[in-house]
């Protein structure tokens, strides 16, 4: 499964929201609250074996499914390169 699908499955299973688009803002649509965001971060770290820095927990990286997927892909390629 691509990161996007894995993430979507996780979000649907965990937060019981299924009707959301790839570019919907989690915050503005009220899809994920602050605790949920922390759970999403923990999930990304365990599932994709990447370490997120606290400085990276900003809306540009995590506020919508497409952003999260892009961020995860970027991080993965970075960790492979190093």
């Amino acid at each position: 499964m691509s990161p996007r699908e894995t993430l979507r499955t996780f979000i649907v299973d965990t937060f019981f929201v299924d009707d959301f688009g790839d570019d919907d803002s989690f915050l503005r649509k009220g899809l994920i609250d602050s605790t949920g965001m922390m759970e999403l971060v923990a999930f990304i770290e365990t599932e994709f074996h990447i370490k997120l820095d606290d400085k990276e927990l900003v809306p540009e990286n995590l506020d919508s499914l497409s952003r999260v997927a892009a961020f995860v892909t970027r991080k993965q390629s970075l960790s492979k390169a190093s």
Partner: protein
């Protein structure tokens, strides 16, 4: 028209208005005055700002240099708040900071708290954890929610929020939300809308 005795309805209305005034004006002021007087007594060994009010029991102890700012509020509840500043330590609390019940504030070396902070019930702040002593700095407008524990050596940035039940072992940058055990911080932009619409 002759002025006569007020009717029963009028009397009742006047009495109700009187009770209302007592409830909304007199009692809160009396409570406030009592709180201020109690704080004066409890914090007699502290350098105290004006208008500090303690609405419940606070166990306060100062063997070092403790300074409390103006208009602090200590609320009462099921557990007394405890404020302790040990020998040679420095404890500074900024103006208009609020403490709910059961807060435990301990300074062995240095604890600095900014202005307009909020400390919820059962929050523990101590700059000594048995192994090391390291100063704690809490900047302005910080909200520490129920049951959070701040470990020695952390610095909480201005306007940040420490979420309920978290254990903070690393610095929290300004405008962020710290959560979990051990706490991680994320930007408040990620979880809360801008100040104007919040």
């Amino acid at each position: 028209m002759r002025p006569g005795l007020p009717t029963a309805a009028e009397t009742a209305r006047a009495v109700r208005a009187g009770i209302q005034v007592v409830r909304t004006e007199v009692l809160p002021r009396a409570e406030r005055a009592l709180g201020v007087a109690r704080a004066r007594w409890l914090f007699r060994s502290f350098r105290l700002g004006h208008g500090v009010a303690a609405y419940g029991t606070v166990s306060a102890r100062n063997d070092g240099h403790a300074e409390l700012g103006d208009k602090l509020t200590f609320l009462g509840g099921m557990l007394p708040t405890s404020v302790a500043c040990y020998e040679g330590a420095r404890l500074l609390v900024g103006a208009e900071t609020q403490f709910n019940y059961g807060v435990s504030l301990e300074a062995w070396e240095s604890v600095q708290i900014g202005a307009r902070c909020m400390f919820a019930s059962f929050v523990r702040v101590s700059d000594r954890d048995g192994q090391r002593i390291s100063p704690i700095i809490i900047e302005d407008d910080v909200w520490v929610a129920h049951g959070a524990i701040l470990l020695p050596g952390v610095r909480i940035g201005a306007r940040s929020v420490v979420s309920a039940g978290s254990i903070v072992s690393q610095d929290v940058p300004p405008d962020s939300l710290a959560m979990g055990n051990p706490a991680r911080s994320m930007s408040l932009d990620l979880v809360a809308r801008e100040a104007s619409s919040a």
